[in-house]
């Protein structure tokens, strides 16, 4: 039996890897194109697009586009703004949404199912439809900051953070994950004397690594890619994130090399975040024995 099955199995594994390689290429090619192009002068860049050379670092290779990009836009500021806003939002939303998910999954309260249904229903509302009403709301909200009480949230960091702290998708992810955990775990902790918050903090969150990683990645990407909202609420350069910063490179005639250099630079934080999460993710699975 085993000897008959062997070649078949090898073939299957081979096909699987072939497929994975193809998929990887589909995802890698744009990145390779972006990085390679960022090293070429505009003329050569455009000429190469019609051949395989588009993916190869050949011809007149230099870092000139990067220097030009830094001269054109305050890239450091934009990246800082994006990372700052995204980071705070990810951390805040993981905390708030996991608390909400915990309540929906484990606590009994009147109207729970109705509230959860409403939360999930908001998943189908596109952001574009509520962007303008939301702008009008934040424009009139008070905020107490270092400069005392102020009205209107435009041109700030918090206008980019607070509206996105709680979202249905993240709550939903946590609810689903928590519901699949054994109920006895919570009960045992309750009998051991844990308050609900201690159950959350000491028993549930430590074994929620997989869902935390998933939610963090989705949230990070959504926030880092924000364009419409920051464009609406940040008129001054000081608070603008990377996506809005892209505008600096689409002037009268677009400098494609610089665009590619800029894109390469702002992709770095995303890659770093992925690598960090992947390690945390694997560590969390290894330590709890709970699979994602």
């Amino acid at each position: 039996m085993a000897t008959v099955a062997e070649p078949n199995k090898n073939l299957k594994t081979g096909l699987k890897y072939l497929l994975l390689v193809l998929v990887a290429l589909v995802f890698l090619f744009p990145m390779v194109f972006m990085v390679v192009s960022s090293l070429k002068p505009d003329l050569q860049l455009l000429r190469d697009t019609s051949s395989i050379a588009a993916f190869l670092p050949v011809g007149d290779i230099s870092l000139d586009n990067y220097f030009a990009a830094f001269r054109r836009a305050p890239i450091g500021l934009f990246v800082f703004n994006s990372v700052f806003v995204t980071g705070l939002t990810v951390i805040g939303s993981l905390f708030l949404c996991s608390l909400a998910g915990f309540a929906f999954a484990f606590l009994e309260f009147r109207g729970k199912n109705l509230v959860l249904s409403i939360v999930i229903a908001t998943l189908i509302v596109p952001f574009e439809t509520i962007a303008v009403p939301m702008l009008m709301v934040v424009n009139t909200l008070p905020f107490v900051g270092p400069n005392g009480l102020q009205w209107g949230w435009l041109n700030t960091y918090h206008v980019q953070i607070v509206p996105f702290l709680a979202d249905a998708l993240t709550i939903f992810l946590f609810v689903q994950y928590f519901r699949d955990l054994p109920k006895e775990l919570i009960e045992a902790a309750r009998l051991d004397g844990a308050t609900w918050f201690q159950v959350y903090a000491m028993v549930i969150m430590p074994i929620a690594g997989p869902v935390i990683a998933t939610a963090a990645i989705l949230k990070f990407l959504a926030m880092y890619n924000q364009y419409l909202w920051p464009l609406m609420v940040t008129q001054s350069e000081q608070f603008r994130p990377v996506m809005v910063g892209l505008q600096y490179f689409f002037q009268l005639n677009t400098a494609w090399g610089e665009v590619m250099a800029y894109l390469s630079l702002i992709t770095l934080p995303v890659l770093a975040f992925y690598l960090f999460l992947q390690r945390a993710f694997i560590a969390s699975i290894a330590s709890t024995g709970i699979k994602g």
Binding site: A188, A189, L191, D192, A194, G289
Partner: protein
């Protein structure tokens, strides 16, 4: 000192009544087993003691206190779950010590108690491991250890052994029994396995469909079941039941049926009138091979276990019964045989399944 008192305890989920009025006293230090078929409400009753389920109606007292509204952690109870419910991210040491940590017990006292529990349960060498690195039996020990360190007044066990293999189950059963003697705490133990119930309990509570059928010591239940359900549930192999018709005579009660030739037994028979259809119960171990026995049938299966011989017999009326005979019985499959019994070993049940007083 913590005994328990159930007064008219009810539990419903919406319109479904799961526990239908339980009245029960449990003395301090008693080992009580709730036993009954799957779905009869054993776990629900236990969870109400733990405080994990609300009590729909009635009153539950632990020690001197009515605990209906008391939080689980303030009830002085600890529970061992069927699924162990160990915290997967914590070492055995931290699992056992979690309750103490929450109570802000000083570190040195905590350490002492954890090691003491580990010693009692012989798992000192496991303290650094994670639950995923333990076998089923070891996990169960940790779960028990977690209960012990909190020094509860009442231990609750919900089918703690049903995920273990047979041999391990025997060992753990003995350990739990030993633990009860050592700690002297009140223990409530839930199982669907009547053998576990018989071997562990000071007092058995037989439940069926949310109603207490009978409360008593293992031998009381075995020898004096109050109804058909208890008679059929307690004892292995199960009690045999035959349909017979009763007739009142001067000597007592004369019973006969398709399976049973006319037999007269001494009984006041005050609950019975002539012509009643009643049920006769006879335990397998009360069958006696005898040439003038009142039960006649054909042997259909013989199992020789050495110390005894289990035979399946189809009686004249077609009812199949199981008899446990001496190890050296010569019966073979296909033999026609006769069996007798000592009349005082008979159990009689009226049409409602209640035991007829003798």
């Amino acid at each position: 000192m913590a005994g328990l008192e159930f007064k008219g305890v009810h539990k419903s989920y919406g319109k479904v009544d799961v526990i239908k009025g339980v009245d029960l006293s449990i003395a301090h230090g008693e080992f009580v087993v709730f036993v009954g078929p799957s779905g009869c409400g054993k776990s629900t009753l236990l969870r109400m003691v733990a405080g994990l389920e609300d009590i729909t109606a009635g009153e539950l007292t632990i020690g001197e206190r009515v605990v209906n509204q008391v939080q689980p952690r303030d009830r002085g109870v600890a529970m061992v779950f069927q699924s162990y419910a160990l915290y997967p991210h914590m070492s055995v040491y931290d699992n056992v010590g979690f309750g103490l940590r929450l109570k802000k017990t000083p570190k040195d006292i905590r350490d002492q108690k954890i090691r003491e529990a580990a010693r009692i349960l012989q798992m000192e060498h496991l303290l650094d491991r994670k639950p995923a690195q333990l076998s089923g039996g070891q996990r169960q020990r940790v779960a028990i250890g977690r209960a012990i360190v909190r020094q509860p007044e009442v231990f609750l066990f919900d089918e703690p052994l049903s995920n273990l293999d047979a041999a391990l189950r025997m060992d753990m059963r003995m350990e739990i029994s030993k633990l009860h003697q050592e700690l002297g705490a009140t223990m409530i133990y839930v199982t669907h396995d009547q053998v576990e119930a018989m071997t562990l309990a000071d007092k058995i509570v037989v439940l069926n469909a949310g109603v207490v059928q009978q409360v008593g010591s293992p031998l009381e239940l075995y020898h004096h079941p109050e109804n058909l359900f208890v008679a059929g549930f307690i004892g292995s192999p199960k009690m045999n039941f035959l349909k017979v018709t009763a007739e009142k005579t001067d000597a007592g009660l004369t019973i006969a049926g398709a399976d049973l030739e006319e037999t007269t037994i001494a009984a006041s028979g005050s609950q019975v009138s002539t012509g009643d259809r009643i049920t006769l119960g006879l335990r397998p171990h009360d069958f006696i091979e005898s040439a003038d026995g009142r039960l006649r049938g054909v042997v259909e299966l013989v199992e020789r276990l050495g110390n005894e011989t289990i035979v399946n017999v189809r009686l004249a009326g077609g009812t199949q019964v199981i008899a446990a005979l001496d190890g050296d019985s010569h019966l073979e499959v296909g033999h026609e045989a006769r069996f007798g019994f000592a009349p005082e070993k008979l159990h009689l049940f009226d049409a409602d399944g209640q035991t007829i007083a003798r």
